[in-house]
C-alpha cells in the first residue's frame, strides 16, 4: 500500500513534469504567435517562433556580477515557484489521469493562493534592489492586483456557489456535455467579471500599469538580468499558459484534449490582445478606479445572480 502510494506519487511527479514541459513549451510558442499577431497589427513581420527559446537560453547562459542581496535573487525563484505551484494544482486535460496533476478537493483555493504568491515574491525581490522606481512599480503592481483580484474572487465565489465545489476538476466536470453547459453560458455574469479581471491579470494595455516603460523604466525586467531574467521569462510563458488553462477550466468548459485546449486558451488570450493593441495605458489611479467600479459591481451582481437565479 505504501509502496503503491509512493509509486503512484512518483508517477504523478513524472506526469506533472511532462505537463510542465508541454505547458511551458506551449506557453512560449503561443507567446511568439501572439507577438506575431501584435506585430501584424503594428505593420511588422514580427519575431521568429524560436525567438522566446533563444532569449531564455541566452539569459540562462549569462552570469551576474553584482549583488543586491539574497532576497533580490530569490524574487524570480519565488516567482517561478508560484508559476509551477499554480500549474501543479490545475488539471490540464479533463478526464486524463496523466495530465490532471495534483488536482484535489480544494485545489481552487490553493491555485488562487499560488497566483498571488509569485507576485509577492517578486515584490520582495524587486524591492530589495533599492531603486525608487522598483518600489513604485511594486506598489503599482500590487495595487492593480488587489484591484483585479476583487472581481476575480467575486466571480470565483460565484461559480463555487454555482457548482457547490472547490475542486477545479469537478467544476470542469459540471460543464461537460456541450457548450450550453459552460459557465460562460450558465453564469455569464461571473464570466464577464472574471474576464475583466483577466485583462488586468494579463498586463496588456490599458492595464500594463506595472510594466509601463515610459513611466517607470526600472521595473523588474530591467533590474533582473542573466539567469534571473531567464527564469522570469520562463515563468511568464508558464504562468500565462496556466492562467489561461485555469480560465478555460473555470469558465469555458475545460478541455478533453490538447487541441481543444490550444484553441480555447488561444481564444481567451486573444481577448486581452484585441483590447491591448487598441488602447493606451491607464494611469494607475484610473486603472484601480476602473476595477473597483464596473468589474467589482459585476462580480457582486454575479453572486446575486447565482443566488437568485441559479441556486434557487
Amino acid at each position: 500500500m505504501i509502496v503503491e502510494g509512493l509509486g503512484g506519487w512518483l508517477s504523478k511527479v513524472g506526469n506533472f513534469s511532462l505537463t510542465l514541459l508541454i505547458v511551458t513549451t506551449y506557453g512560449l510558442l503561443m507567446g511568439a504567435f501572439i507577438e506575431r499577431i501584435i506585430a501584424k497589427v503594428q505593420g511588422r513581420i514580427g519575431i521568429p517562433y524560436r525567438q522566446p527559446f533563444i532569449n531564455i537560453l541566452k539569459n540562462f547562459f549569462k552570469r551576474t556580477a553584482i549583488s543586491h542581496g539574497v532576497m533580490f535573487y530569490l524574487g524570480p525563484v519565488f516567482r517561478i515557484a508560484g508559476g509551477i505551484g499554480t500549474l501543479a494544482f490545475v488539471p490540464v486535460i479533463y478526464g486524463d489521469e496523466m495530465f490532471s496533476n495534483f488536482s484535489m478537493a480544494g485545489d481552487l483555493f490553493l491555485v488562487i493562493y499560488f497566483m498571488f504568491f509569485g507576485q509577492l515574491g517578486m515584490a520582495l525581490g524587486a524591492g530589495e534592489s533599492g531603486h525608487p522606481y522598483s518600489a513604485i512599480g511594486i506598489a503599482r503592481g500590487l495595487s492593480q492586483m488587489t484591484a483585479y483580484e476583487i472581481p476575480f474572487a467575486l466571480a470565483v465565489i460565484s461559480i463555487v456557489i454555482q457548482y457547490d465545489t472547490l475542486s477545479i476538476t469537478q467544476i470542469v466536470a459540471a460543464q461537460q456535455g456541450g457548450w450550453q453547459n459552460w459557465t460562460v453560458v450558465t453564469n455569464w455574469v461571473a464570466t464577464l467579471a472574471a474576464m475583466l479581471a483577466f485583462l488586468g491579470m494579463m498586463g496588456y494595455s490599458p492595464f500594463d500599469i506595472f510594466l509601463a516603460p515610459q513611466e517607470i523604466p526600472i521595473g523588474p525586467p530591467t533590474e533582473f538580468h542573466s539567469a534571473y531574467l531567464g527564469l522570469m521569462q520562463l515563468n511568464r510563458a508558464l504562468f500565462g499558459a496556466t492562467k489561461l488553462v485555469l480560465f478555460m477550466n473555470l469558465f469555458f468548459g475545460g478541455a478533453t484534449g490538447w487541441v481543444e485546449l490550444m484553441i480555447k486558451t488561444f481564444l481567451i488570450y486573444m481577448v486581452a490582445i484585441v483590447i491591448g493593441v487598441a488602447f493606451p495605458r491607464f494611469r494607475v489611479d484610473q486603472g484601480i478606479r476602473f476595477f473597483f467600479k464596473i468589474p467589482t459591481l459585476i462580480g457582486i451582481m454575479s453572486i446575486i445572480y447565482v443566488q437568485m437565479v441559479l441556486t434557487s
Binding site: 511588422r44 525608487p132 522606481y133 513604485i136 516603460p213 515610459q214 523604466p217 487598441a278 488602447f279 494611469r283
Partner: protein
C-alpha cells in the same frame, strides 16, 4: 488638479518654498538621463508626494557636445556637416539656417531651384518629424500600435530623403550656396505615392489614437498652457498655436518659397496635451499639402547652387546676423558673428526646446501624476540635443 506648490499661478515667478525632504514625506526621483519616457538624454529631478509631483527641475548636460564651440574651430563648409547633429530628428532646419546665415553674411544669393528644393526638403523633414512625434505621443501613453505605423511611414519619408540626399538622417543636403543635387529620376512619383499613403495613415491614426477613450482620459486637461504664458515663457510653435496664438514664421516673415505656397496657420483653443497633439496632426496633414505644392511648383531644371568661392579657404566678411525659421517646434534661430577669418567667431543656436523643456516643463509638471510626465514632455515636443548645443 494642477496645483502649484508655493505658486499662485503659472505667472508667479517667485522662488518656491524649499521642500522639507527630511520629513520623510517626499521622495526624490530622477527621470532620466536614461529613460524611455524622456525624449533624449535629459533628466527631470522630481520631488514626489506619493504619486504627485510637487517639484520638477530639468537637468541637462548629458548630451553636451559643444557644437557652438566646435563650429568656431571648423571652416564654414565643415560646419555644415556638424550642425545637423544639433537636432537629431530634424537636422534639416539646422542645415538650412546655418547655410542661410552664412549666405547672408557672405552675400550669396541662391538660385530659384535651390529655394524650392530647400522648401520641399524642410517640409519633408517636418513631415518625418511629426510622424515620429505622433508615434512618441502615442507611445508615451502606452499605445504601441500607432508608433509602429508612424515610424514606418517616417521611414518611407526617410527613403525619399535617402534618394534625394544620399542619407536618411543626417542629410547634409542644404549646403551653403544652395543644395547638393537636384531630384533623382522618378522621385516625384514616389514622393506623391508616399504622400497619398501618409494621408491615409493619418486618417487611421486619427481614428485609432484621437478617437480613443483612454487616450482622451489621459491627455485631456494635461499640462494646460494659457495664452498669458506665451510671452513670459517664450513659448512658440504648435505649443503656442494650440492656445489660439497665431504665431508662425512661415506666415509672419515668409522665407524661402513660403510666400508662394498656399496654407493657413492652424490654431487651437485650450493648449492641453490632447489639443497640442491634435493640432500637430492637422499640421502634419498641412505638411503633405505643402510638399505636394512644392512638387508642383519647383523648377525641374536650372542651377541649384550659387557660384561659390573655393570652400577650402573661404573667408566671410565680418558681420552678424540672426536668421530664423519655423521648425516643427516653433521658432528656430541662428545667431552668427563672423570676423572676416576662415572661421566663424560665434554661433548661437536658439532651439525652442530650451524654454519648452526647462521653464515650461518645470512649471507644467507640478501637480501632475508621475505617470503623465512622459506624455507631458512629448506633448511639448522637446529635443534635448538642441538644448545643449
Amino acid at each position: 488638479m494642477t496645483q502649484l506648490t508655493g505658486h499662485s499661478s503659472a505667472l508667479d515667478f517667485a522662488q518656491p518654498e524649499p521642500v522639507d525632504m527630511a520629513s520623510g514625506k517626499y521622495v526624490k526621483l530622477w527621470q532620466g538621463p536614461q529613460h524611455p519616457g524622456i525624449t533624449g538624454n535629459m533628466s527631470l529631478e522630481l520631488t514626489l508626494d506619493g504619486d504627485t509631483i510637487i517639484d520638477c527641475k530639468t537637468h541637462v548636460g548629458y548630451l553636451h557636445r559643444g557644437f557652438e564651440k566646435l563650429m568656431e574651430r571648423r571652416s564654414f563648409i565643415q560646419n555644415f556637416t556638424v550642425v545637423c547633429r544639433i537636432a537629431v530628428p530634424e537636422p534639416t532646419f539646422n542645415e538650412y539656417l546655418y547655410s542661410h546665415a552664412v549666405e547672408q553674411l557672405s552675400g550669396i544669393k541662391i538660385p530659384e531651384r535651390a529655394i524650392w528644393l530647400r522648401t520641399m526638403n524642410l517640409e519633408l523633414m517636418r513631415l518625418a518629424s511629426f510622424l515620429m512625434w505622433i508615434g512618441g505621443m502615442s507611445g508615451a501613453f502606452g499605445q504601441y500600435t500607432v508608433p509602429n505605423w508612424t515610424t514606418a511611414y517616417r521611414d518611407f519619408v526617410l527613403d525619399l530623403f535617402e534618394e534625394m540626399t544620399g542619407a536618411r538622417i543626417y542629410h547634409m543636403y542644404i549646403v551653403p550656396g544652395g543644395v547638393r543635387a537636384g531630384l533623382p529620376d522618378g522621385f516625384e512619383k514616389r514622393a506623391r505615392d508616399i504622400m497619398d499613403g501618409a494621408e491615409k495613415l493619418l486618417d487611421q491614426v486619427e481614428r485609432v489614437m484621437f478617437n480613443n477613450a483612454v487616450f482622451k482620459a489621459r491627455s485631456k486637461g494635461l499640462g494646460i498652457i494659457t495664452p498669458d504664458m506665451i510671452d513670459p515663457y517664450g513659448i512658440v510653435g504648435p505649443n503656442a498655436r494650440a492656445c489660439g496664438v497665431e504665431r508662425d514664421i512661415r506666415k509672419d516673415e515668409p522665407y524661402l518659397a513660403y510666400d508662394q505656397l498656399n496654407f493657413e496657420t492652424i490654431t487651437g483653443k485650450d493648449s492641453d496635451a490632447y489639443e497640442r497633439a491634435y493640432l500637430r496632426l492637422q499640421e502634419t496633414r498641412q505638411c503633405i499639402s505643402l510638399i505636394r505644392q512644392c512638387l508642383d511648383k519647383a523648377p525641374k531644371d536650372g542651377p541649384f547652387q550659387a557660384d561659390m568661392p573655393n570652400v577650402l579657404h573661404w573667408k566671410i566678411p565680418a558681420g552678424e546676423t540672426y536668421v530664423k525659421a519655423e521648425c516643427t517646434r516653433g521658432e528656430y534661430g541662428y545667431y552668427m558673428v563672423t570676423d572676416g577669418s576662415e572661421f566663424v567667431r560665434r554661433v548661437h543656436v536658439r532651439g525652442p526646446s530650451y524654454t519648452h523643456a526647462i521653464a515650461v516643463m518645470e512649471r507644467l509638471a507640478v501637480g501632475n501624476n508621475i505617470a503623465d510626465i512622459a506624455g507631458l514632455m512629448v506633448s511639448l515636443h522637446t529635443y534635448p540635443p538642441e538644448i545643449e548645443r
